[in-house]
Symmetry: none
Subunit: 214 residues, 2 copies
DNA sequence: TTCCACCTCCTACCTGAGGAGGAGGCCGCG
DNA sequence: CGCGGCCTCCTCCTCAGGTAGGAGGTGGAA
């Protein structure tokens, strides 16, 4: 039996979900909240296996409620169910610790599947948003540091500092050598990598993961 | 009618998939490959809407085949179907450009759903692996878009081009304005964002996801 | 030893980038 | 209507950045 806590400020939505879950075996709605502020207390009292959470709510929105809930001890997984397919919401919800993200125009069976997945410790994404998460994943954990191997180790050091936006003078004092020497290294880097100026070098450094954003 | 190309070195698996797809309306298996090396040619000949791809194959494995396929013009989406839930495979397949990743112990209906999703331009992940992708997403893409909103839209355009390593002159011709004007915009950007030079601006652009690596 | 790659530092020179300070035109808002 | 923000373009000036061509020192490999 999977215990579910429903969080949505609209009674209509909650009753719809209640109905859907009741029609299937194996689910029990153990509580409902109309406001994100109530979620923590309700979860502590009812110990649900899954929390189904709307995002747009008055007072405390779903993202903040999710964040607070996930900060408690042994929190239940949160399945976000929202009307709006918005990057801000998606990112915010997942970063707040949600394990599932479904759009409200999903068929009822998808919601059922989602709740089951989360109860099993898995995660669940709406197909409509999976692509975007995938893109982030792809660009996120890059394979190795690609082949900038034509560079000597010193040149590599210099390129890394260029990639951080440092001037030749700063690189010089950072490495404890003269600015002239830095210029020499920089020139060699440009020739070897076919770059035109340090702007191109910075872009190269990011593209080849010699430095990474923020 | 969704045209599907099956790629698996085991005839048994292909026939199983063929059967599953034939039982449902709206699917047509337009080709089969037993080797990753054949995929490119088959896709070019049959123009499938979705490619269902095994990973473990002789000669050319599924990841390499996916990579090659995605490098062609207007490639079909690839749904990876594999026996092994392995991080290396997951990461490799997604990075190679796969839009879906399902495990072979998924129920038939999940495969059907996956193919439909991919044909619709969406993506699809097995619940068992979604969690890991989500974790990467969380730790990876901090803010999808931070507030560089103090910039005017034109300044934002200019910053994006700076971030791609362009010179003032190149930005000018790209935007169809004079280099002098570009310099003016650039100066305003520096003041507003507290940057010292264009090197810092490039780093800023990457850090704030105004441009992204590779 | 000789050779070579690398690191270091040098001079001299040229150009793009950035700062300072405006100016004119367009448009939306009070 | 006038004000202010934005976009556009201008000049004059300075300097960091980049090019060109070298020279001396080290250490490892042939």
């Amino acid at each position: 039996m999977i215990k579910v806590l429903l969080v949505d400020d609209q009674e209509l939505v909650r009753s719809g979900l209640r109905r859907i879950l009741r029609r299937k075996d194996g689910f029990a709605v153990v509580g409902e909240c109309a406001d994100g502020a109530e979620v923590e207390a309700a979860a502590a009292a009812e110990r649900p296996d899954v929390v189904v959470m709307d995002l747009r709510m008055k007072h405390v929105d779903g993202i903040e409620a999710t964040r607070r809930l996930q900060a408690t001890a042994d929190p239940p997984p949160v399945l976000v169910l929202t009307t709006f397919d918005d990057d801000q919401l998606l990112s915010g919800a997942l970063r707040a610790g949600a394990s599932g993200f479904l759009l409200k125009d999903s068929p009822a069976e998808d919601v059922i599947r989602g709740v089951r997945s989360l109860a099993a410790g898995e995660a669940c994404l709406d197909p409509a948003v999976t692509g975007r998460v995938l893109n982030a994943y792809r660009s996120a954990a890059p394979p190795p540091e690609a082949a900038a191997d034509e560079l000597t180790s010193r040149e590599h050091d210099v390129l890394a500092l260029i990639g951080r936006g440092l001037s030749n003078g700063e690189i010089a004092s950072e490495l404890g050598i003269s600015e002239v020497t830095v210029k020499s290294h920089v020139g060699h880097i440009f020739v070897k990598l076919g770059l035109r100026d340090r702007a191109a070098a910075i872009v190269y450094a990011f593209d080849h993961r010699i430095v990474t954003p923020k």
